[in-house]
């Protein structure tokens, strides 16, 4: 294991502290906690969006806290949901009086911890709605879509919910927009290498020098097929075929695309993948309203990428295009 770190047990907190130090214009750390809120929190009258989950997916989650995005981000240890107390306390700091949307990936650890925190907030009389991201096509069949796990598509859901909340929508409206964004988003990834949890020091799975696995999850969960590494064009078309089979997108539709690096993938490779994706989509008669290419939701030092597609309607298009300013996204 070769990492630019100090104590392996302090990776989550030190990375968060670095983020806060780098972007004081957008966020501040909640005192004593492994969490951040918008620098201008609480915003009175605005629904607060709280996101979070295990660390190791930087810049997710805390990197998406800012204007037009989330109000709060709570980081657990590497690959572990944060516990209820910091979720609860961070929510209290971010709450602007009109309720809170919990927005996170659908993993049982996260569900257990966020649900407990939501109960504690309810006891305090604070309204909490929850939307769980379930964009990973590979993680369960279509008839059990609600069991799917959440991966890079969570970026789109935060973007949409954040923009909706910025319009001073109600909690129900913000939750509805997030639910729609999630329902319209599909992601599938490909892994070329394992990742290594700092405190463990060992790769979490084995993969041969010439192998890749399509559909692998961001914690090494099994995907849909393992085989010899193929050219980027073939990988892109296999992934897009799986996505489009799961979410039929009629010709003429408008969409957004995210080609996401898992942590150890050079930008050049992501652009080569997007080149294939973009051409496929143009040939399918789709209009790409906006493209995002980069490290948006990582898996520690895993090599590989994921492709996320969000099908847009007029509302989603408007919200996607709305301005945003946070460490991991600036859009005018």
């Amino acid at each position: 294991m070769k990492k630019l770190i100090n104590n392996p047990d302090h990776v989550a907190i030190e990375s968060l502290e670095g983020l806060v130090l780098a972007y004081p214009q957008y966020l501040r750390q909640v005192k004593g906690l492994q969490s951040v809120v918008r620098v201008d929190s609480p915003r009175r009258g605005k629904v607060a969006i709280l996101t979070g989950g295990g660390s190791g997916h930087e810049p997710m989650f805390a990197g998406y806290v800012g204007r037009g995005m989330a109000d709060a981000g709570v980081a657990g240890n590497v690959f572990a949901s944060p516990p209820p107390p910091p979720i609860y306390q961070t929510a209290k700091v971010a709450h602007g009086g009109t309720g809170i949307l919990f927005l996170y990936g659908n993993y049982s650890g996260d569900v257990l911890n966020f649900d407990l925190a939501a109960e504690m907030l309810h006891t305090d009389g604070i309204n909490v709605e929850t939307v769980r991201v379930t964009d990973d096509v590979a993680s369960a069949p279509p008839d059990r879509r609600e069991e799917r796990r959440g991966i890079a598509g969570g970026f789109f859901v935060i973007k949409i919910a954040g923009a909706k909340a910025e319009e001073h929508a109600t909690l129900a409206e913000v939750a509805a927009a997030a639910t729609k964004a999630n329902a319209n988003t599909r992601t599938m990834g490909v892994s070329l290498s394992s990742c290594t949890i700092p405190a463990s020091g060992h790769p979490i799975f084995e993969i041969a020098e010439n192998e890749m696995e399509i559909g692998m999850g961001i914690h090494g969960e099994r995907g849909v097929s393992r085989g010899a590494l193929r050219p980027a064009d073939n990988i892109a078309s296999e992934i897009m075929a799986q996505i489009i089979e799961d979410l039929p997108v009629p010709r003429g539709s408008e969409i957004a695309i995210l080609v996401n690096g898992l942590g150890a993938t050079p930008m050049a490779e992501l652009f080569i993948v997007f080149r294939a994706v973009g051409r496929l989509l143009q040939n399918a008669g789709l209009t790409i309203i906006r493209t995002y290419v980069g490290n948006y939701v990582s898996s520690l030092d895993m090599a590989g990428c994921s492709i996320s597609l969000m099908l847009l309607d007029e509302e989603l298009k408007r919200l996607l295009r709305a301005p945003a300013e946070c460490p991991a996204l600036v859009q005018g």
């Binding site: 295990g54 572990a80 516990p83 209820p84 911890n113 969960e221």
Partner: protein
């Protein structure tokens, strides 16, 4: 003769001993979790028990029930993840079952086990056979004991049962947790949470055995 009861002071020492054992098993538990989950279970257990140990050092003259409730809170607060809530709640339930007691003997321990089991199964989401910590816990609850067992005998038997329950999870397919989407790939590997629970009981039994010997030789 085996010691029949322990006090709050004993429990404190015992928990600290358990913490040491869990820390030693970190790499082993990580590798079990890497096979079917995300490879962090040993880390999480270590962090949780380190937090328990730190909390125990703070607490002085605390009743048995509060010792366990505080341990549960400390564990949950320091870890997160699935095991944080599940084991945290188990410890709190264990504590509540001892409310008003100054000593824990065999009977109290049996009740405590049941209370822990309820805290997990009452969540409604998990049942036996789902390949979780519950499979080790239920096995421990179902032990049939001889007449009037000592606490040491009770915990030893529970530990053995938990271990065999944990072993059996190898033949189960995971339905929940970060491992749940692996489906069949989880076959042939035991559930790390179940194994952790059996390790905890074994460590408790070992501590009691040592303690019994200390008493005898004294």
């Amino acid at each position: 003769m085996a010691k029949n009861e322990i006090t709050s002071q004993d429990l404190k020492k015992m928990l600290s001993f358990v913490a040491g054992r869990i820390e030693k098993e970190e790499a082993h538990l990580n590798s079990l979790d890497a096979a079917i989950g995300d490879g962090d279970h040993g880390i999480t257990m270590r962090l949780g028990f380190q937090a328990i140990r730190a909390k125990l050092n703070e607490l002085d003259q605390v009743s048995m029930d509060m010792l366990l409730v505080e341990s549960g809170l400390a564990f949950m607060g320091a870890t997160g993840g699935a095991i944080g809530v599940v084991l945290g709640k188990m410890l709190m339930a264990a504590g509540k079952s001892l409310k008003g007691k100054e000593r824990m003997g065999s009977d109290e321990f049996k009740i405590l086990l049941c209370a822990m089991e309820s805290s997990v199964s009452n969540s409604g989401k998990i049942k036996c056979g789902d390949k979780t910590i519950l499979d080790a816990l239920s096995s421990a609850c179902q032990v049939e004991y001889g007449p009037d067992p000592s606490l040491t005998e009770t915990i030893s038997a529970a530990a053995a049962a938990a271990e065999s329950g944990a072993r059996k999870t190898s033949h189960m397919v995971c339905r929940v947790g970060r491992a749940s989407r692996l489906g069949d790939r989880t076959l042939g590997h035991p559930d790390p949470g179940a194994l952790s629970f059996s390790l905890i009981l074994h460590a408790m039994a070992d501590w009691l055995h040592d303690s019994d010997q200390r008493t005898q030789s004294a």
